[in-house]
Symmetry: C2
Subunit: 209 residues, 2 copies
C-alpha cells in the first residue's frame, strides 16, 4: 500500500477536441449560480482527478491551463444524485476522453488498446477535501469553526494512470505536466489547493516504470 | 475508511516528568551528528506521531513546545535496525507515557485503565514523508530531482487517540493543542511541515465523540 506506479510522460499522446468554454462568464456569475443551486439542492459537491506521470524520475502532475490563465485539475461539480466516483469517471471522460464520433473523428490515429470509455479511469485514494464556508471564493482544507452548513465541498482523488493512453484536450485548454518542485510552496501562482499537492503525494512510494 | 474519531481535549489529563533535554546543543551539532551517523549507518529515519483531539467540535493537534521556542511533534529518529511502527511506539511512550517508577511515582493519580505501556499506542495511516537532501536544515515533501541519496526521511503517522488518557510531559516541554485554522497557511510560525497538517487531515471525516 501507499505505492503508486508512474509511467514516463512520453508514454502518453495528446490530441485535441472541440473547446469546452467555462459554464459561467465570471467568478461572480459562478458564485451566483452556486447560491441558487444551493437553495435548490443543498451543498455542491465537486470532484477532481490528480493524474501523475514522471519525467526523468521526478513526479509530474497533469494540470489544465485555461485560456493561458488559471490552472485547474480535470473534474467538475456533480449533479445532486451522482456519487463521487461515478461522477468523476464521467467528468474525466468528458474532459480528457476521446472526442465523440460526431466531432469528426479527430482520434482516428488512436490504437484500439488506447481507446477508453467513461468507466475506464482507475480512481484511487481520496487525497484532500476543501470546504467553501460562504458564497465566496475562499475555501479551506477543514470546516471552519462555527460553520455548520458549508456551501461546497471539493474532493481530490488520485488517479492511477494506465501505462499508455491518448488524452484528448479541449482546444481552449492546455494540458501541462508540472513537476512537484514547481508546485511546492507556490500558492501565489497556483493557489493553495494545487500548491498542497506535493504534501498530499509525499506518503506514496513511487515506482518509476 | 478515512474516518477518525476525535474525543474532547477535556477527556485527557496531563502530568509532568523529568526533563528530556535536546540531544544536540545546536542545529549545527545536530547536522554534524547526522553526517557522522550517515557515514556509519546510511540514511537516518525519523518518525513522528500526529495526535488529534477536538475542542468545541474543531480538530486540534497536540504539539510539543520546547523551551518556549520551537514546536515539534512527539517522535525521534530511529536506530538503524528499528522498524517505523515499533520505533514510534517506543518514542511516544518515552515522550508522553507515564514516568518510570524510579522517578518517584508522579503518576500516582492515574486510573488503572489509563495506564499505558510502550505497545499501546494505536498507530494508524502514514500521512506524509519529508526528505533531507543534504546535511542542511531544508527538507522537502518529495525527493528533489538529481538527489539519489537523501540523508534523512521523516515519516509522520496518524495516531488514533483512546477515549481517555493521561499524557505525561517532560518538564522542559509544554504540550499544546492547536486548532487547524491556526496551523493552516502559517509556515512562517510553525515551519512548512507542521503548517501542512490541515492538508494532510482534510481527507478524514471526523467523528466528534
Amino acid at each position: 500500500m501507499n505505492t503508486l506506479t508512474l509511467y514516463p510522460l512520453s508514454n502518453y499522446s495528446f490530441e485535441t477536441k472541440e473547446p469546452q468554454p467555462e459554464e459561467d462568464p465570471s467568478v461572480n456569475a459562478r458564485l451566483q449560480r452556486l447560491e441558487s443551486d444551493y437553495h435548490e439542492h443543498g451543498m455542491r459537491r465537486t470532484v477532481e482527478g490528480l493524474l501523475v506521470v514522471h519525467e526523468h524520475g521526478h513526479p509530474h502532475v497533469l494540470l489544465l491551463q485555461v485560456a493561458n490563465a488559471f490552472f485547474k485539475l480535470p473534474g467538475d461539480y456533480l449533479k445532486p444524485d451522482e456519487s463521487d466516483l461515478e461522477g468523476l469517471q464521467t467528468r474525466l471522460h468528458y474532459r480528457l476522453g476521446p472526442a465523440s464520433a460526431e466531432e469528426g473523428g479527430e482520434s482516428h490515429k488512436m490504437l484500439a488498446e488506447e481507446k477508453r470509455g467513461p468507466g475506464d479511469w482507475e480512481i484511487s485514494d481520496l487525497l484532500a477535501q476543501w470546504w467553501r464556508p460562504n458564497f465566496e471564493s475562499f475555501m479551506y482544507p477543514y470546516i471552519p469553526a462555527h460553520i455548520s452548513q458549508p456551501k461546497e465541498v471539493k474532493s481530490m482523488y488520485l488517479v492511477q494512470m494506465p501505462e499508455r493512453q491518448v488524452l484528448t484536450v479541449p482546444r481552449n485548454m492546455k494540458l501541462i505536466a508540472l513537476p512537484l518542485f514547481e508546485l511546492y510552496d507556490n500558492s501565489v501562482r497556483y493557489g493553495p489547493s494545487l500548491a498542497a499537492i506535493p504534501h498530499l503525494l509525499s506518503k506514496y512510494n513511487f515506482i518509476m516504470s
